[in-house]
Amino acid sequence: MDYLALYVTLKLAFFTTVFLMVIAAPIAYLLAYYRFPGKSLLEALVYLPMALPPTVIGFYLIIVMSPKGFVGHAWGSLTGGSLLFTFLGITIASIIYSIPFAVQPMKAAFSKIDRRLLENAYVLGLSKRATFLRVIIPNSVAGIAAAAVLVFLHSIGAFGVLLMVGGSIPGETKVASIAIYEAVETMNYSAAGLIALSFIPISYVFLLLINKLNKDSLA
């Protein structure tokens, strides 16, 4: 069995989840608590990756991450390396691909918190930032955990976007979903079957976890 591909998948899902939690929290906060012109436009933009075919996202990521694209160019002049066909490249792709799955549950969790609780924190002397860290976050744990699990699952399953941005370099960008695809292409059904089978318990357990978290947050 292609353990290396499974390892890359789990590593990718882990980093995507960690970074995305940090990136999505302020976006979700902004969308949950502020009104500003163009808010619905921004919100739609954040959710856009959910509505686009993964190959379309992959295509635009190739454009901006290639050595001629502005992100790829900046990265190249900074480090001398390339973003395409690297683990970092697919991590960025995976983050963008999963943004909606992080922002949406977090926003829902933040919006559920009683405004008066926040006002009480302000009256008690807490700045908006401190209120976010000491009141909003601890009272949205279930929603944040649900977001993390969703992102993790979604990045385990990513395929098209990763194939376009990362190709299939063993140990670097060849994730399990790509390994399955390649095994099937070479008629190696038993190898494909083994990796495929290993997904089922992982995804099942995580889904059970999401259900439990959703119940907890409703209670």
Partner: protein, 237 residues
């Protein structure tokens, strides 16, 4: 320290326009029918809402002045604000709630003794009764050493007996606090029991005749205000 405020603000159904002052150690009770603007006034004092025009002066500090475009944030006003039932943070136990913004954490123990909730310190807010939650909310507000105490119907979600007990405790506590206290209620009984001064507020304006009219109104004559029924109830207990 004395708090003096004057507010003007356009609301949906009427214009709010009133001014008042309240000195240290005094309790001013703001009374009037629901929807009369009492909570809006309290929120403007706390800095949570902004008047269209007016001033709020605390001692020699200007908290709000529309003409000079001064508006001190709620964080910097250092006041205590007890709401009807939304003060406590659900994720913290009572002790951590009361110590949330405490100047001296050791003092929380003294307050818990005073308010008789010391045995509940490790409980979460949803595990205690409404009266115990409000006691904790008082501790939370007082532990911050507020310069002004705002109490917006703090006991009105409680049953009559608990409410009477807390009301009496508050009255005996009043002398030990060295700050102005503004108390909002629609209960005339409570107002008469607690107040050093009474400010009746009806549709955003001071209406000194309101209490008299409410008490003397014959039963069945129009709608009877809740406050008018309460004195009769109190004879039972």
């Amino acid at each position: 320290m004395t708090i003096s405020a004057s507010f003007k603000r356009r609301l949906k159904y009427y214009d709010l326009d009133l001014s008042f002052t309240c000195a240290t150690n005094k309790m001013m009770v703001m009374i009037g029918p629901s929807g009369g603007g009492k909570t809006t006034i309290i929120r403007m004092l706390a800095g949570l809402e902004t008047p269209d025009e007016g001033k709020v002066i605390f001692g020699d500090e200007v908290w709000f002045d529309s003409a000079r475009r001064i508006n001190v944030t709620p964080q910097k006003r250092r006041l205590g604000y007890v709401f009807q039932d939304y003060n406590l943070f659900p994720h913290l136990n009572l002790l951590d709630n009361a110590a949330f913004a405490a100047v001296d954490k050791g003092e929380v123990d003294v307050l818990f003794d005073l308010f008789k909730i010391d045995h509940l310190r490790k409980r979460k807010p949803h595990m205690v009764s409404g009266g115990e939650r409000q006691r904790c909310a008082m501790c939370q507000a007082l532990a911050r050493h507020p310069r002004l105490l705002l109490l917006d119907e703090p006991f009105s979600a409680l049953d009559v007996i608990t409410r009477r007990g807390l009301r009496e405790e508050l009255k005996s506590l009043k002398g030990t606090l060295s700050c102005p206290i503004i108390y909002v209620t629609h209960d005339i009984n409570e107002a008469l029991f607690l107040a050093d001064e009474i400010l009746p507020v009806v549709e955003g304006k001071n209406d000194d005749g309101w209490m008299q009219r409410t008490i003397t109104r014959e039963p069945g004559e129009g709608t009877t205000a809740k406050g008018a029924r309460e004195p009769r109830l109190s004879l039972v207990y």
